[in-house]
């Protein structure tokens, strides 16, 4: 953490999906701050709104049906939501890099990878064709693709899953961004390949001091990679804090539940899962959205939505009983 002012500052972001008469409240007022040189893991299960939040920030939310209905996202002084589309694309393609879960859908099957990589230099950095190609080769070398000079003439289908993800990382890093948003970058990969990719991301990040947002459902990935973690549930951040504190002393019952659900070192025995299921986002429970599944729930949880309270040491928690939870967990 080099600089204390966040390079990305998202406040009270709200996103809804409108399909027919149904309104799905996917993101309900979330804040994120990312500083340069820092890795923020956004942790949540499917439907928690983690991907949608950053799709909205980066302007790649499919709209309709998705609409940003409130909040702001300021990146290095530019308010992303009020920038004209062109200027915003320039920011999001160049100063912010994006890595998606499925590398195949992020690559164009009918162009060679060399063409796709050099396109980025031609468009964003206005370099000539020859120089662009040279830089593309350098980039492939940097992300560890063997025989880069020959392979730029190959098409995406000629690469394996892990290599494709390297291509996508190369594309995200190509224009030397200050921030990279990686949405489940290793979920589609095998563990030994996942380890390679996480290793690559971490070393590239350290080399260049970029900010990294890592959207993941895996607590293992979050624990290994993050400096800070934000846990999302039903479109809200329920807890965020320093990774060591959060894993050691979770303060939100949902975080406690997530940690209890992962099989650990113990020899068999029973896991302590969270009962029930995540809510239907078109009918989020009143009060705290987690109360129907929470073993700490009291009357107040059914009535009042707990605000996100800030504690010292950078922790914030949205729970009426966070002190009790922290003491008991």
């Amino acid at each position: 953490m080099t600089d204390d002012t966040p390079m990305l500052d998202v406040r009270d972001l709200r996103v809804e999906f409108r399909t027919g008469r149904r309104v799905v409240n996917a993101v309900n007022g979330v804040d994120f701050q990312v500083r340069s040189g820092e890795t923020l893991a956004v942790l949540g299960e499917s439907g928690s709104g983690k991907s949608v939040s950053f799709d909205a920030v980066l302007g790649v939310l499919e709209s309709p049906p998705g609409f940003v209905t409130g909040g702001s996202a300021v990146f290095q002084g530019d308010d992303l939501f009020s920038l004209p589309a062109r200027a915003r694309r320039a920011v999001c393609g160049r100063r912010i890099g994006m890595i998606f879960q499925d590398p195949l859908s992020a690559l164009n099957p009918v162009y060679t990878v060399g063409w796709q990589l050099s396109e980025m230099f031609r468009v964003h950095l206005k370099t000539g064709a020859k120089e662009a190609e040279e830089r593309a080769v350098q980039l492939l070398q940097r992300v560890g693709i063997p025989g880069a000079g020959d392979r730029i003439n190959d098409y995406p289908h000629q690469f394996s899953g892990g290599m494709r993800q390297r291509l996508v990382i190369a594309m995200a890093l190509g224009a030397s961004p200050d921030l990279v948003v990686a949405d489940e970058p290793t979920t589609a990969l095998d563990v030994t390949v996942e380890a390679q990719i996480l290793d690559l991301l971490q070393s590239l990040q350290k080399e260049q001091g970029i900010g990294l947002v890592l959207i993941t459902h895996s607590m293992g990935v979050a624990a290994e990679m993050a400096d800070r973690v934000s846990v999302m549930y039903a479109g809200k951040v329920v807890e965020s804090g320093n990774v060591v504190d959060l894993f050691e002393k979770p303060a939100h019952p949902y975080t406690v539940g997530l940690l209890g659900s992962i099989p650990g070192e113990g020899t068999g025995g029973r896991l302590v899962p969270i009962s029930g299921q995540p809510p239907d986002l078109a009918r989020i429970p009143k009060g705290c959205a987690f109360h129907p599944r929470c073993r700490f729930a009291q009357d107040i949880c059914r009535r009042e939505t707990p605000p996100l309270q800030r504690f010292g040491d950078g922790r914030s928690v949205a729970c009426h009983f966070s002190t009790e939870v922290m003491a008991g967990a």
Binding site: G162, D190, T192, L198, A223, E224, A226, P263, L271, P273
Partner: protein
């Protein structure tokens, strides 16, 4: 166990030298141009009430192994003995009674349930097919199964789309249980589920095992889940078992370099463990169409020697109850 009286310690399932190759055909005449060596001489046994975990990365043949054991795929070679009977070369008709003893739970709870049937019909269907129960008796049995897997009784008439992923997996488990099997092959049963739901299903599988003395062949790529549920674990790489031993042995001291890398690669949910201690393998899993000669793993192995490139290592007992196939272990 439930029906037979003379009870021995004989394993419920014994698999020996099991091999499954798929032909790759090209052209108008469908000429055979290559073979996929999906499963290549795999042997193991599963005891009563025991869970054998099968781990490996995609393409290692673990799912093909599960399907071949069930005779959903025709084995190319080798034998499968279920309660002592060799079912590997039986006709479709001949194998049917044995299917009752061995069932499967699939990975994807969305595509493995018929969307046109109600949950009750899905769970009761095997009872009809095998002529076990009908009418009132069947209804009672289905209600009982619903209760055992934790599905609400009133959901019998609902259709699969009305259930969440975790509940659908419960339906799949109830269906597998309906015929009172001895063995259930669980093919990635929780990997499509969210973490909080995964834990519920894992707990259910453990409870059912205790209640019915079931044996599981638990196929998964998630080592943490496998570690939690298994008694013994087999590690597969490109169609072969490279290491098989008790869970405790494997996780305390993996002997094969591939097992070591695999275990080291799992992201651990403890922020105090440093990533820098990891063994990072180079490259990807090679294609099972043309697996490397010698030891399949030599192309990625940090310790590969000349011998590994030519001579396939044999799976042997390196320590009591701990089998591995690696030339490095020859002096152990």
């Amino acid at each position: 166990m439930r029906d037979t009286v003379n009870e021995t310690d004989r394993p419920v399932l014994e698999v020996s030298g099991l091999t499954k190759h798929f032909g790759v055909h090209r052209g108008l005449t469908r000429r055979l141009v290559a073979k996929v060596h999906a499963v290549d001489g795999v042997s193991f046994s599963v005891g009563r009430g025991e869970t054998l975990g099968i781990v490996g990365e995609s393409g290692c043949g673990k799912s093909t192994l599960g399907k071949t054991v069930l005779r959903l795929l025709e084995p190319t070679d080798g034998s499968i003995r279920l309660n002592g009977t060799d079912i590997s070369h039986m006709s479709d008709r001949g194998v049917r009674p044995y299917r009752r003893q061995m069932q499967i739970v699939f990975q994807d709870p969305y595509s493995s349930l018929n969307p046109r049937l109600s949950a009750g019909e899905i769970v009761g269907e095997p009872l009809t097919i095998h002529g076990v129960a009908k009418g009132r008796e069947k209804k009672e049995r289905v209600a009982d199964l619903f209760q055992r897997v934790g599905l609400p009784a009133e959901s019998v008439d609902k259709h699969p789309h009305e259930f969440s992923g975790g509940q659908r997996q419960r339906i799949g488990i109830a269906r597998a249980l309906s015929l009172n099997p001895d063995v259930i092959v669980c093919d990635e049963p929780v990997s499509a589920l969210d973490v909080s739901i995964q834990a519920q299903v894992v707990n259910l599988l453990i409870d059912l095992q205790e209640e019915f003395g079931l044996s599981y062949l638990f196929i998964a790529h998630d080592l943490a889940v496998v570690r939690h549920i298994s008694h013994r674990v087999a590690v597969m790489y490109l169609g072969r078992i490279v290491e098989i031993t008790s869970k405790d042995n494997l996780f305390a001291e993996p002997l094969h370099p591939y097992s070591q890398a695999l275990l080291s690669a799992i992201p651990k949910p403890d922020p105090k463990i440093k990533r820098s201690d990891k063994i990072i393998l180079k490259g990807d899993v090679p294609s099972p169409i043309a697996p490397p000669a010698g030891c399949h793993f030599h192309t990625r192995c940090p310790h590969a020697m000349e011998r590994c490139r030519v001579e396939p290592p044999v799976l042997r007992e390196v320590r009591p109850g701990h089998m591995a196939s690696c030339h490095l272990l020859d002096d152990v």
